[in-house]
Amino acid sequence: MAKIGGWVGKVLRVDLSTGKISTENTIEKYKDYLGGTGIGYKVIWDEVPIGTKPFDPANKIIFSVGPLAGTGAPCNGRTAVTTLWPTCWPKPLVASGHMGGSFAAELKYAGYDGIVIEGKADHPVWLSIIDGQVQIKDARHLWGQGIRRTTIEIAQQLGPEASVAAIGQAGENLVPMSVVINSFSHSAGGVGAIMGSKNLKAIGVHGTGSVYITGNKEEWEKIIKLHLSLLGANNQHVVPNKPQPWAEYYHPGSRWVASSGRKWGAADPAIDTGACDPHNLHRIAYRTNSAAYFLGADAWQYTVRGNGCSSCPIRCHTMLKVPSAASKYGISEIGQNTCMGLLFGRVFFKPPPDGPRGQAAIEACMVGMSLADDLGIWCNYGQLQRDFVRLYYNGTIKSKLDEKEFKSYSWDKYEKDDPSFLFELLPRIAYKEGELGTVLGLGTGYILQGWSIPEEEWTKDYKLWYWKMGHPKHHANEDAGQCGVIINTQYNRDAQCHSHPNFTRNGLPIDVQKRLAAEIWGSPDAVDAVSAYTPMNIYKAKMAKWSLLRKELHDSLSLCNWMGPWVASPLKERGYRGDDSIESLLYSLATGDKKSRQELDQVAERIFLLHRALTIRDMGTKEMRTRHDTIPEWVFKDPSGKAPYTKGTIHMDKEDMNMAMDMYYEEMAWDKKTGTPTVTTYQKLGLGKVADELSKKGLLP
């Protein structure tokens, strides 16, 4: 009996205003958009009226996954969360967040490719999904509790295998800078308050079903093993961070940190990570230690093990056990997270005396994780902390707060980098207490607006990393020159695209990178060595387009864009080549819908284009080039005055960037003057109806 492969066939619709629960047929309605952000943008386009504000009941929040979620394809544990973004300034626009953990898989096993939440409940509720049994349940006893207690209480009802995505007090209190978290440490930023505005405390899901693979199971096993063989460490770094017996190359900045002598010190007994030859697929989980990478060598002794999303062998979350943090600050001995989550606590402060990778930093991180991941506060890729440091040390906070409130904070502790200060600050953000607590939770755009700080102060200073619309850069020119800048202009929050830095940071020598680049984007000139940028060319535009399309593809298929694409590999016998068609191979076999690499990239382009159309429609302008795709001043200014495209500087040249945007728009077949997609492009990608609607509003070039 042939079953649909990949997709499980139903999108759940929950109207919290009426209590109505229904389902839609995924294939009939959303197949051309794959899943994930594809479904998210489609729902927002079709159903959320222009002018809707994020906390209006008319806003929708879509939790969606792709056909590969829940399968054995490596790195598929991602859930996309799409909604109108509350920190997007000055006008809320569509954006998406993502959370890892177990939610994506569990949702598929319960029989759903997505959940569309609409309306608003009249009292706190949580959504219970046990296979086909979906109920809206009373959450009044959970309201006011942190994410951890909420998760455990729901697990008591649904069983220990359930995946629970919950908001903390920050989301409840409609703090825009809030998250939803599942599986202890996996957060989707920016969406907690949307759930809070709908009185939705949590979604708990338990599924006992299956995700079917249409293709032959032996072939599926082969492609999985191929994919595994091409994996590097976190962010698809393909060389170790110091010489290893098997390695031709190495790079001190690599996240492949395993080595003989480096141990999971808090495992019982300790486990040596060893040389981790890339051919040994049994040791993939030891290659990465995010805590050691971000917090330094001291973190090894505190490492219990790696952790992460279902199905992923990389384990980019690190579970740390730090007894000293527990005894000093009354928090749990155990904390876990990855990337910014790990750094959350530390970056509120100036680097401590023993440096950003010493014991004090580790303790600050433990306190930060403990508080933020329970209260459910978002950092906006560290912008919260950067803004805070600047606003304190330039005297703004002191001038904006009344004396009583200012004195209620222990600033002496803050200036001494004492993590206990976070116990004063973070709850006040979550509970909107006082001017400071309230303002910090709004997001940068609204902080600047509320405190009458001109945006130019932020856009001219590279140290703040601010890009536009209330959000920071995210892998821009510092990572990939013009390609990175183009990517950062395209979204309504920080770009969240890792296709390009995964490649440029993979640790291979520049000649090898150029050889691979030529194969994928047409010329070795597509990539430069970092800090040795050269003027724009069309290959960089192709790389930018590829990066963006693959990000949307991953966010729609459920593949992790923090690990893919897989265009490089650690294997010398392959010339360090990966396989640029892995996504299409997996998709075709799982679903039975055979698509080549190019064909699948076209679907991704359709999804990306829909995001573009939504942005244009909701901004009410076609002048995207000048009004949306903006680049902050600091990108063009080198602090020591070095000229662009000389060695040692990452700053860009305005004319060159203008040419870069020209080339990008040409690659995309959009109108160069406005940066707006043309009717031909919309039609070519099956979005003719979208073009019609935009045409009626005069939003085509």
């Binding site: 399968t71 054995g72 295998e161 299956s210 993939i284 219990v304 279902s310 056990k321 876990q336």
Partner: protein, 243 residues
């Protein structure tokens, strides 16, 4: 015929089958290790007598797990069902990790004092112990559908004989039986004919396929079995074990 005679007859049948043709006492019999006494019912039952399936073969290998290395990726569960059954179905996986992943074997009520992601980090991977005689799942099956499969001698569900009654699910003290609801058949770990896919899939070297040894008295049970053993099997057990 007395009970003792019946017993001897069964034993003689069995010994003939393996080419040992002299009288053995019960005690001597049980001391012989590795004697194949598979499917006595297949030898041709005495007319009117149903002779139960007794599995004396020990398995050749067993999957053992190290909870201190499990990183909770669940690739073992996925490999088990995707590569064997063509579907990702952790509920049906014949190695079971997800149920201990978050809180440990004691479940939610262990809270932060427990194991798993919300406790101390340890993740217990539940593996089939390929029990020696008496094999609880096999004994409980009214159709003798759980058999020994050479060359691994894993205890395996013969899908042709399985009627989907689910009695075996209740028999295993470690709750290791799975059920394929698409096929309406029980299923269990069959060691993948000697190269267990879960072991192959583990990215943390937390699973090993080793020479079989009896771990049934070393790992605490998860449940108190509530299966009903078919009466004729009970009678046969008594035959052999009665003094």
């Amino acid at each position: 015929m007395t009970h003792q005679d019946e017993k001897h007859e069964i034993l003689e049948l069995a010994l003939n089958f393996v080419g040992l043709n002299h009288p053995f006492s019960r005690r001597e019999f049980l001391l012989i290790s590795g004697v194949t006494v598979v499917g006595i019912s297949a030898l041709g039952a005495k007319p009117g007598k149903k002779i139960p399936l007794i599995i004396m073969d020990k398995a050749e290998g067993i999957v053992i797990a190290d909870p201190t290395k499990c990183v909770g990726c669940r690739r073992c569960e996925l490999a088990c069902t995707e590569f064997n059954d063509g579907k990702a179905s952790p509920t049906m996986a014949r190695i079971k990790v997800n149920r201990n992943l978050n809180f440990g074997p004691k479940g939610v009520y262990a809270g932060r004092r427990g194991q798993g992601n919300w406790g101390n980090g340890l993740i217990t991977q539940d593996c089939c112990k390929q029990c020696p005689h008496p094999v609880p799942c096999a004994n409980s099956c009214p159709n003798d559908a759980i058999v020994v499969q050479p060359p691994t001698n894993a205890r395996v569900v013969d899908a042709k004989k399985c009627i989907g009654c689910k009695m075996c699910q209740k028999a295993c003290p470690w709750e290791m039986m799975s059920f394929d609801s698409d096929m309406n058949k029980a299923t269990k770990c069959f060691l993948c004919n000697g190269t267990p896919k879960c072991v192959e899939a583990c990215p943390a070297e937390a699973l090993n396929y080793v020479a079989w040894r009896d771990v049934t008295d070393k790992i605490p049970p998860r449940v108190i079995p509530t299966a009903v053993i078919p009466p004729d099997k009970v009678a046969a057990c008594i035959q052999c074990h009665k003094k």
